[in-house]
Symmetry: D2
Subunit: 338 residues, 4 copies
């Protein structure tokens, strides 16, 4: 059995998730190298992942390591040049979202991808690989709801983790770039069309620190799409009940809704508070399986010369929409896209 040899760059929280999946849960992949500027992360690679070939310099890993592919889980601003360098070094590339922090960067990554059509490139829009989302897409493609024409997307981080969000409020790029990229990608994916116009609002009622940092703790946006479809997006950072990702796709013959109750599991407690379902606590918990499935897809594509469903252009488009949404939110005006 042929195995894909993978080098990972970045071993923070999400990097560790990917690394363990590659190292232990994919029969046809092995984690053979790791790169990080954080010593503790390289130590983790050695002791927990059994990876001895470690680097502090990304270009050195590309040059020396015995790898077929690179998995990039670094700071957003590093993604594009790292993608380009890896592709130019002949590696398949998986990069975490967002593709880049501005559209110019994204275009540079697009060019690199186009230069290497025989290399697999995949962007980490893992929600598309979540079983419920994949099921919804399959049902929609089968015609179960007729023509989809409205997406209503909700993504709210838990209040339990709000301190971290406050700490990064000044540098996050604002709530839409920070939080709505996945929702924007889902809207495009389900509607099969591109957003052409956006209007957005924000509000801060609980943690004034967001407002002070020029950000908001909750924000909503409305989109017009090229084919006449529409979308509504609601993102927030203060759900007292957990991590809440919900998406509804309305079509001419029906509607599919995913995760109206962001249930932790299948247990329900009948007690003094009524009938209660505990909620999932964080995105790694919610999308645990999706992270594995997307990596299976990447490895399968890289080994078999295929391209996955999520392309580099999905990265550019979602980034462009994220910027337009941010502009609409900041200016209070309708912003035309593209």
């Amino acid at each position: 059995m042929k195995k894909l040899r993978v080098g990972i760059v970045g071993l923070g929280r999400l990097g560790k998730v990917h690394a363990r999946n590659i190292a232990f849960k994919l029969p046809n992949a092995e984690l053979t190298a790791a790169c990080s500027i954080v010593p503790a992360e390289l130590e983790y690679a050695k002791t927990e992942l059994g990876v001895t070939d470690v680097y502090t310099d990304y270009r050195e890993m590309l040059a020396k390591a015995d790898i077929d592919a690179v998995v990039i889980v670094t700071t957003s601003s590093e993604h594009c040049w790292q993608i380009e360098a890896a592709l130019d070094a002949g590696k398949h590339v998986f990069s975490e979202k967002p593709l880049g922090v501005d559209v110019a960067q994204c275009k540079q990554a697009e060019a690199a991808v186009e230069r290497h059509p025989d290399r697999t490139f995949m962007l980490g829009f893992m929600r598309r690989y979540d079983k419920s989302y994949a099921y919804a897409k399959e049902k929609i493609d089968q015609g179960a709801i007729g023509t989809p024409y409205l997406v209503k997307a909700t993504g709210i981080d838990p209040e339990a983790l709000v301190e971290g969000a406050i700490r990064f409020a000044k540098t996050s790029g604002g709530i839409f770039l920070d939080m709505a990229i996945h929702d924007i990608d889902l809207c495009r994916w389900f509607l099969g069309s591109e957003a052409t116009e956006v209007y957005a609002l924000g509000a801060t009622f609980k943690h004034p620190e967001f407002k002070e940092a020029g950000d908001d703790e909750t924000a909503i946006a409305m989109y017009k799409f090229a084919n006449g479809a529409m979308a509504m997006v609601h993102v927030g950072r203060t759900a007292p009940y957990g991590y809440h990702v919900e998406t509804e796709i309305v079509g001419t013959e029906g509607t599919i809704r995913i995760s109206a109750v962001p249930e932790k599991n299948l247990a329900t407690v009948y007690g003094p508070n009524g009938v209660c379902t505990e909620c999932v606590g964080s995105f790694p918990e919610r999308f645990d399986e999706a992270y594995l499935i997307e990596m299976e897809e990447f490895v399968d594509c890289a080994l078999n010369g295929k391209q996955p469903g999520v392309s580099v252009y999905d990265g550019t488009k979602s980034t462009a929409i994220g910027y337009a949404t941010t502009e609409a939110w900041k200016t209070g005006k309708i912003v035309k896209i593209g």
Copy 2:
């Protein structure tokens, strides 16, 4: 528009529900007389219901009042003779459940009903008139679940009202006669067959007062039916979340379940306890509308010379099964039913 003139006997909690429905909510009925041995109840009839023709003696009401029909909401042990007396006086009769406290009494009521085939007689199995139960029956009759062959019924009173249950534990006849009559009736109704055998158990883990009074706070029973179908019944008195009536009918082609979440209304709270639905607090709240609908049915039948879906025999049968269940529970043996 012809109106049915009704006299009510018994104006306790449930009596008041029926009285208000007759007095104010049924276009073709009027409450023209009331009888009670409790002075405050007659005072209520006068001031709240506007009924001036009141009695302390039931036979006197039958003899003198300007009434076409009698609604009996007295203590269970009085039902049968009051039914007989009313029918013999030429009145239509609605009686609360149970029909009687033993089968001999029930047979006496059956004889009275048979003597007066032109009079309407109805027993207050109001669950059959609840919209959800009526919907389930209609679906089943249309074949939606094929042949029904198993009923799983649950009825649990709220812990909030347990003090009353403890107070009456010695005289209630035991948990099955006190609480399972409706469930037994539903099993018979949905399965279209009669129980032939029962096994039963009880338990008391929270309020030893029940055990001390020879009763139990929770009990379960299993029934074999003449047509080969089966039933499981679970009754209890200590639900911390409210009043819980749930019924499931399993058929060859599907299952219908009613009220797995005994929701108070359509609101759901997403908060620190997860996603919670508050529960209904008591049987009058849960079956509020069913009490009205069953009385509409009674009035319609009485005015138009019809007999309702619930017959006197349903009363006898359910009482007989209740007694057999009680015997099984008390003796720990399988009991054959009549």
Copy 3:
């Protein structure tokens, strides 16, 4: 017991609902007069409601009928002058929504209400009296979700009734005035603030007749409120599953969602299509009980010299917002409100 004598004007589908409630279901009200320009409706009043004092001329009813109050269920364009005439004739007034078809009319009604502070005036925003909505408001007022700052409202008529909507598409005033008035009222009610800005979009993917009539079959709008809160409204006319009214109120400490599943009743069918809940088929079915409760409130207020929670100003404000939304939808621009 004092009874409020009521005359009704308009006995169409909703008029009949109100009429029956007044005639048969409210102990302290009686329907003593009826007015309609449709002969069949007056015939209905006589034969079904037992009202013999009928009129074809509204002013004649005001002048001659033995009534304390008027219930107005006529065409929207007639509401304001009929309100004014009734108040000036010394009657209490209940009017169906909307208050009027333009703000100028509404102001005229406001003036009439202000001229007669001792008369009860109530507008038929019945959703506020629905048990689930009333429960949500009570919970919110008790602080259950902290400060509410975002309302997400959905109202979709059933595809089964779309023919009627198509027939009236040219004269309905457009989807927002026709369908969003209740949602707009709920946003204001739950947020305790006034909308200051709106952006809106529409789409027609199923029935081109709407587009041809200058209308849309689905539309969405986003609102900014004076206190910084926000709202998203989604209205439509083609739900294949039934009548869907859903509302979510997001607050700093929690969220309340009403009717995510627009269930017909408490029964669930486990069958070849999975686990299914049938949906409610129409607004009269969904809000059956709310229509009765709001009328109880009106009668109670009129008899006891009180004003209900829904004021004439709620009518003007919601109408103004409805117009602003319509302008935003028609022009594609952000519209400032009052």
Copy 4:
């Protein structure tokens, strides 16, 4: 990192699940040997699992293979002697349920386990490792529902797979031994007590082939436990909607219910049939993750000299109860349990 070297015996449907988990998804285990009497299964081991050390003789694998542990996924009647042989050969042992096909066999396995207290032994009651069941147990141990005193367990195989069940009806040991072992184990686990008495019934309304084979397609049982608690079990083979495992634990302070809707995923479809959730199709789909988690537990215990939560005695007890239930079902009598 130390890895547990595992040999598997039996590579049927469930054997393949375990084999893939050991081979590819557990960082600290490796599948180094495989044994089967079916040539195609050994071919699968070589080509799909990369296991070259294969055997047709179980004792030969024990003697020669480089293994620390054995995973037994053979026919039920082989389990006990294979357990004994492996333990006596110094191996850790994981065996699929049931422990044995009669109590005498189970006792023999118990003796072997007791002879080798330094070897890890685990029985495959994987439901205990399902996240929802584990969550329920943890909540119960924390006191969330007070003292548990009633378990209501349901397990129904899908109609879609009924042909297989019919084929094996004569040799399955009957519906209770075939299907209720997991439910019986869960009752014991949640109640923390042993069953002392059972009554059972069966029914066949859809596929007479079961009755002809001396079996039933649906069966129910009621249990009394030593501590006064109770249980109700319902097993079946013809759910038209999929694979349905549901468990409810009733306690003095609340109830936990697991999987009232056996949902396939988090998507809900709003369409012509109402609001529908598709159901999970089979036990491997439902318990996919639990099979991995239980094997993680086994490997962790074996590597670290621990014993898992599921002991050999759980196997004997559940088998004894299964036999008593079968006797009750066959004889129609109450059966006392050891």
